[in-house]
């Protein structure tokens, strides 16, 4: 298929009118119609119904539209980044992070974008999934890292990024630090600090182990919770993708295994600015499971 054919088809999807679409694409109507016919031949069927006063997408047309849009956006993104660098794009890259999802994993991708476009400001926004979804739909956020299980409307594209596992964070010198890996049995007598930003690992532990743990609610940033762990208030179950510094001790939690999958989401069919579009492409290229 040719770039121009795809471009014409997307214009036709918006206008549903051959004459107007051809005008918008600056081609004659016969040339426009021929290009659409060639695309239809390649895709193996009619993309549009053409009736006297009505042009509508066929099922094939509706099926192919988002994929062709993604290809066109990718073609634009690949050349737009080259152009944005030449002219020194100003703007921002706004990334949402679900509660307790670390920025460390994607930080190298953010660095790449920022080195390419040094005048682009970087903004992270950590919030509840529903807030981030609304932020993306309202165009306040470019994309977001979210737990796979959270509710997302159809309009969001999502790509699997990695699976994170729970680790136990202990104050330095805690007796449990003598073990390499910990089980539900090991931490039965401990107080677990829980908050929105704990990734729901404690709740899942309760379900999986079938018993109640001693919980201490504690809302705030992960760093503040870690301060309380260091002060000896309790232990925490957090994502292995976060960074922890001594004197805290971190041990693998092996039984039951507590994991959650993290996806990258962005609004389907909405062209992103070159910084965001290429950040998404960079993240999709990699395997973050290691």
């Amino acid at each position: 298929m040719e770039l121009s054919q795809v471009r014409y088809f997307m214009t036709l999807c918006r206008t549903l009118n051959f004459t107007r679409a051809a005008e918008q694409c600056n081609v004659t109507q016969p040339a426009f119609t021929r290009a659409i016919a060639r695309l239809e031949e390649e895709l193996g069927g009619a993309l549009l119904f053409r009736e006297r006063n009505l042009t509508q997408l066929t099922e094939l047309g509706r099926e192919m539209r988002p994929h062709l849009q993604a290809m066109l956006d990718a073609a634009d993104a690949a050349s737009a980044l080259a152009a944005a660098r030449r002219r020194g794009m100003v703007g921002s890259l706004k990334i949402g992070l679900g509660p307790g999802i670390a920025a460390g994993v994607i930080a190298p991708a953010v660095r790449e974008v920022a080195q390419m476009l040094p005048d682009v400001a970087i903004q992270f926004d950590e919030a509840a999934p529903a807030v981030l979804v609304e932020g993306m739909l309202a165009d306040r956020l470019d994309c977001a890292l979210l737990p796979e299980e959270c509710e997302m409307p159809e309009r969001l594209n999502r790509w699997a990024l990695y699976t994170e596992a729970a680790v136990v964070v202990l104050p330095g010198g805690h007796p449990l630090a003598a073990k390499n890996a910990l089980t539900a049995q090991d931490i039965l007598g401990e107080t677990i600090l829980v908050g929105e930003r704990c990734g729901g690992f404690s709740a899942r532990l309760g379900e999986a182990a079938g018993c109640a743990f001693r919980l201490q609610r504690c809302e705030g940033a992960v760093g503040q919770m870690l301060d309380l762990v260091a002060a000896g208030l309790g232990i925490a179950l957090l994502s292995d993708r976060l960074r922890f510094a001594p004197p805290l001790a971190v041990r693998r939690f092996s039984e039951p295994e507590l994991t959650r999958r993290v996806v990258l989401a962005a609004v389907a069919g909405r062209p992103l600015n070159p910084a965001a579009a290429n950040f998404v492409r960079l993240c999709r290229t990699r395997d973050f499971s290691g």
């Binding site: 990718a74 634009d76 690949a78």
Partner: protein, 214 residues
């Protein structure tokens, strides 16, 4: 060199064609793309290759214009890490890389696959050249090499457990024709090899000869 790439590809093809189902799917691709005059849509010598920036297997950005500032670029489209024909070609190119570089060129291999598969492909061959992820076929579309996979071939891919929507992060069920371009330092395509038959590829010696003539 003992055996040419062309003869190794021909052997692999002959082997595959023993399977009647595979053969029918293969012939369907050739017939459909030939009928459409597909090759005539592909960027031809004399046209400027559009500048692009793509993510590399290692997660860095690579710009065509920067590569061209150092010398001519050999740019090849590949179907994916799963493709045995592409494996033979990548192996041959990895072997020929010192000569390509000695002729002043550099090599960029583009794959539509995501999620770490570009890196897997690169490591498999211990490739010293850049493998780039052409996410959602953006550059492939610009070059005119992307086609929707005909029904029989798609059914075989599915039966073989190849989940393209997952591998490519895109459910379009497309592939690139594995064309190779030699792009001069002026950004213009100096030479191209394109064949709808994915078992027909450019010989590394031919590419090196083109680079030497530039």
């Amino acid at each position: 060199m003992s055996e040419t790439l062309t003869s190794r590809l021909a052997q692999l093809l002959e082997n595959r064609r023993q399977n009647a189902g595979w053969d029918a799917a293969y012939l369907e691709i050739l017939e459909k793309l030939d009928r459409e005059g597909f090759v005539s849509q592909i960027l031809a010598p004399g046209s400027a290759f559009p500048d692009f920036v793509l993510p590399s297997a290692e997660g860095r950005f690579v710009a065509l214009s920067e590569q061209l500032a150092r010398g001519p670029v050999v740019l090849g489209f590949f179907r994916g890490e799963w493709c045995p024909f592409c494996r033979l070609v990548l192996g041959a190119l990895a072997e020929a890389l010192p000569e390509i570089e000695a002729a002043g060129g550099s090599l960029l291999a583009l794959t539509p696959e995501t999620g770490g598969l570009a890196l897997k492909m690169k490591r498999f061959h211990g490739a010293g050249f850049e493998v780039l992820a052409d996410v959602d076929f953006g550059v492939g579309l610009e070059a005119g090499v992307v086609f929707k996979i005909p029904r029989l071939y798609r059914e075989r891919l599915v039966a073989a457990g190849l989940d393209f929507p997952q591998r490519q992060g895109n459910a379009a069920w497309c592939l690139p024709v594995p064309a190779v371009f030699v792009i001069g330092t002026d950004g213009v395509v100096a030479w191209r090899f394109a064949n709808v038959d994915f078992s027909r590829r450019a010989e590394p010696d031919e590419i090196i000869a083109v680079l030497r003539r530039l």
